[in-house]
Amino acid sequence: MEILRVENLSFRYPNGEGESDFALSDINFSVSRGEFVVLCGVSGCGKTTLLRLIKKECAPAGEKSGRIFYNGVPLEDTENAGEIGFVGQNPECGIVTDKVWHELAFGLENMGLSTDAIRRRVGETASFFGIQSIFRKKTDELSGGQKQLLNLASVMVMGPKLLLLDEPTSRLDPIAAADFISTLQKLNRETGLSIILSEHRLEEVLPTADRVILMENGKILICDAPRKIGERLAEENSRHPMMRAMPSAVRIYRGLDMRGESPLTVREGRDFLLNNFSGAARSDKDFCGGEAKEIKEAKEKESERTAENKKSRRDFGVLAAEMKNVWFRYGRALPDVLRGVSFDVRRGEAFCILGGNGVGKTTALNVLAGLDRAYRGSVSVNGKRISEYRGASLYRENLAYLPQDTSALFVKDTVIEDLCEIFSMAGVKKSDREALAAELAKKAGLSHLLRRHPYDVSGGEMQRLALCKVLISKPKILLLDEPTIGLDAFSKDELRNIIKGLKSDGVAVLAVTHDAEFAAECADRCALFFDGEILSVAEPSLFFSENNFYTTAANRIARDIWKDAVTCGEVVRRCKEYCGS
Amino acid sequence: MRREKVKKALVCLAFSILIPTLVTVGYLAFGERRYAWIILSATVLFVASFFLYFEKTESKTGRLLVIASMTALSCVGRVVFAPIPGFKPVTAITVICAIYFGAEAGFMTGAMSALISNLYFGQGPWTPFQMFGWGIIGFFAGLLSERLKKGKAFLLLYALFSGVLYSLIMDVWTVLWADGFFNLSRYAAASLSALPFTAVYVVSNAVFLLIGLKPVGKVLERIKTKYNL
């Protein structure tokens, strides 16, 4: 039985003109009761508009044609706002009140329920979602993941039959995001709730989805089961940008040009490899004593390389930044956040620090950027102790810092004003500033954004603008705090290219991230940060092959055969090599 | 439903009998402090009745949120600039909000800023007067919105006026309460000792109004049309 049917839906925003400006055109699909539908597509493809049109209270203003039926009734005639739930992208914005219990009760208050009824339903919901422990807390004290869970719970408390989620995990770290997705799966499985979820991180979501709708330019490109999506996408366009967003198993499967239903999970992907390529492992074992040999080889390679590196470093002598036995805490009575952190970054290399939430990774960056001061140990940037920099000299042609929330870098009404400000600081004449800014934007391919308000650009564009802005001062070392949060696969690729370019220019890049895939693909060295310390430093293939849990999905799929293959591309390459031999 | 009726009856009873009785008995009981008592009661009743009026009129969700966020901003401003005594953007934000969203919104923003920021700075007998003071500054700004939008001179004049009005309101009650009549020498002493603060206060009003009116006004204007408030 279908719960939602969308017929010939087209939509145009008030400022759009002509055929091409339809945000949505000719959308047709239906969702049956209890179905879990995933909506995906590159950013700007109309996912958000579609979801908001289905939730009529959030519908944007504009010209709409076509019809939407909820339970067979036209959407306009439905009365109860609680029937269709909506959770938005930003966990901060969804929260209305200052206390968790009040937030949960808010929707029920609007429905006009009595105090006793509210008490019961709030209690029951809080128990289901496991948020009893934060029930009396202030909403502000919650972590991002808890906030998004609260948003979900305070929608679910109203008892919706259909739940719409617009990229709910895009601002969460991978661990909180996985938790959130598993809660959605639990809801779908245990309560039979119908869900439409728009997502750009498909690794966890796709295996449990019943159907995937892939949108492009306001149209539905593909609407099919998750196992078939890889093949269908390849039929449409084998180099489609969405291919990069698919789960690793699908990417490896498609990379080998296999036909038919693809594996989705790590387990299925591994079985697929073992069934078809286990010979590779055996032949390796036969020749050189199995995986131990692999590792040994890699280690040898690594030690060779470090020796080489050391040599080359001594040759260049370019140490970009260094921390030696650094200790830090936020207050006298508070526990230590950094407990003897030591590491160094060289010019021309990308160094990734990985680690869980709240272990002090960002604090380490702040100390290095001179925002917080260590109480023991030494921090030096470009060969000079950080305390010796006076005024803003540390930040001029020296060190640049891209914070996690890139919007914090923009304070003016338009992007170009913000860029001009940096030039003014560098002493550029007023008449030249705009031209310089325009030229810079043109080089980065961002000219169309210059006159926009900083808050009117997408997450990926915002990040590129921010990078543009911090790079004006020609830094020798660039610090990145969680650069991949909120980025779709396409923007991640862009970021990787930018980092590559910076490296070849001799800039040292230090990134703090949760994203193992990203680190595996762009770092020269990786390190694990835990309990206020840096635990291991190694190049990515060695680093991830030594880890059992903290590693990439591609590595989990392939580790039984090739332990040091950490990216999808690498796995596909080895598979092809094996086939060729 | 029954509870609703009981509540309504209680409110009626309070307004028609309890409050007048309370004010009268206080007037009789407090001897020389009766004028202070009357002023305090009148202020509290004025502010309360404004809130009741707000309950009945203001309806758009977006407008409520504009008031809430402007209030939050002015409180944050008070916290952020706390190291410099007297330097606070509360009045400026109230005035700007009033200019673009009307006198009632201005009153609410001012009054609520006082109530909430006192949660951080300490409540006291001064709270109702602060609420009234900032509220009324916002209210007048709403009435004078057209002129305030146009002339810089008028804006500066209003910055001065609001600074003086605010300290006037805050001190009059103290003097009346202490002496039972308007003791000019005590009032002069109080104003004089507060003069540096008042001066900083007027300056901060002027600074924030001059820098803030245009850009913030543009934002408010944009929001107003974009979300049809």
């Binding site: 609680g82 208050e109 | 002496d179 929001i223």
Partner: protein
């Protein structure tokens, strides 16, 4: 030490208002002394004796200043002690200054207790009784404030790493902060608009829309039976204990006021000091008001003893 905090917000508000009003407006030294000592003990119980002692110098200075400067402003009274600039400094004015100082300090201490006890959620609850919409706006503002403070520091740091703040002078610092502060306003408003979408998504404002429909005369009957008013939920429960507290507070407030007005509880400093007369009524007033002012302290002490007893049993 949380026993007194657990009363219902309405009872607590009645308590503070009744004691504070009597303290602020009476000139009777007995009542003032009771209120001052009661408030000090209350604060001690809430925040520990340490706070009380560390704040003592401030209160003493304030006390001295208020008491000693009053004769300079007020020349009433019939017992001149000496003359200054041709004006008499009178005994009555000096004593009145002492009484003023006691009241001011008592009120300050009581207000600190108020801030400690009446947390924001209790104030919200009280505001709800007057105007639910006002209370909701308050709650939203309270939710925004910590978010904005965090945002402020984030922007401030981000701007600093771009070298926009050299930190040379105070005016530089102020300019920098003003700039960051102003930049937050559009951000806040944009976020608020998204929040308003979230409110509407959860059915806020539906009721108002229906009311509009009635005005337009569409489908009147049908709409009316569907119409449901927004309710207000809170975690507070009103118990007999709360009713008892309200009753005692109102009783003490009533007899104090009536006593001041009609039954010789009033006290005058000018033109000459009055006399404290002990009548049945005034004795009752002193007893009941005293009980009310010391009650929070006694409740806290009792609670502490109960805990100690329980712990020793375990």
């Amino acid at each position: 030490m949380k026993a007194f905090k657990n009363f219902h917000p309405v009872s607590l508000a009645v308590y503070f208002l009744s004691v504070l009003t009597v303290l602020m407006f009476t000139k009777n030294p007995v009542l003032q002394a009771e209120a001052l000592v009661g408030a000090a003990l209350f604060l001690g119980a809430l925040q520990g004796v340490g706070t009380l002692l560390s704040d003592a110098p401030f209160y003493l200075a304030l006390f001295a200043m208020t008491a000693l400067t009053n004769p300079l402003f007020s020349h009433n009274g019939v017992t001149p002690l000496f003359f200054m600039n041709g004006n008499p400094v009178t005994l009555e004015a000096l004593l009145y200054g002492v009484s003023l100082a006691a009241t001011v300090i008592g009120a300050l201490i009581l207000c600190r207790c108020f801030c400690d006890v009446m947390t924001s959620d209790k104030i919200l609850y009280l505001a709800m009784a007057a105007s639910p919409k006002f209370s909701l706006v308050l709650s939203m503002a309270l939710r925004f404030i910590p978010m904005l403070v965090k945002r402020f520091h984030r922007v401030e740091r981000a701007q600093r790493t771009m070298g926009l703040y050299s930190g040379k002078s105070v005016s530089d610092r102020v300019k920098f902060h003003v700039r960051v502060f102003l930049s937050m306003i559009p951000w806040t408003l944009e976020n608020a608009m998204e929040t308003s979408a979230s409110m509407r998504a959860r059915g806020y404002g539906k009721y108002i829309k229906r009311a509009e429909k009635i005005k337009n005369g569409k489908n009147v009957k049908n709409v009316k039976c569907e119409k449901k008013k927004r309710t207000n939920f809170s975690l507070f429960k009103f118990t007999p204990r709360d009713a008892a507290l309200i009753f005692v507070c109102l009783l003490s407030f009533g007899i104090s006021l009536l006593g001041e007005a009609f039954f010789s509880v009033g006290f005058e400093y000018y033109p000459r000091l009055g006399a404290l007369r002990l009548t049945a009524w005034s004795a009752a007033v002193y007893a009941v008001f005293g009980a009310v002012t010391f009650m929070p302290f006694l409740i806290e002490v009792k609670e502490a003893l109960v805990w100690k007893y329980c712990v020793s049993k375990i």
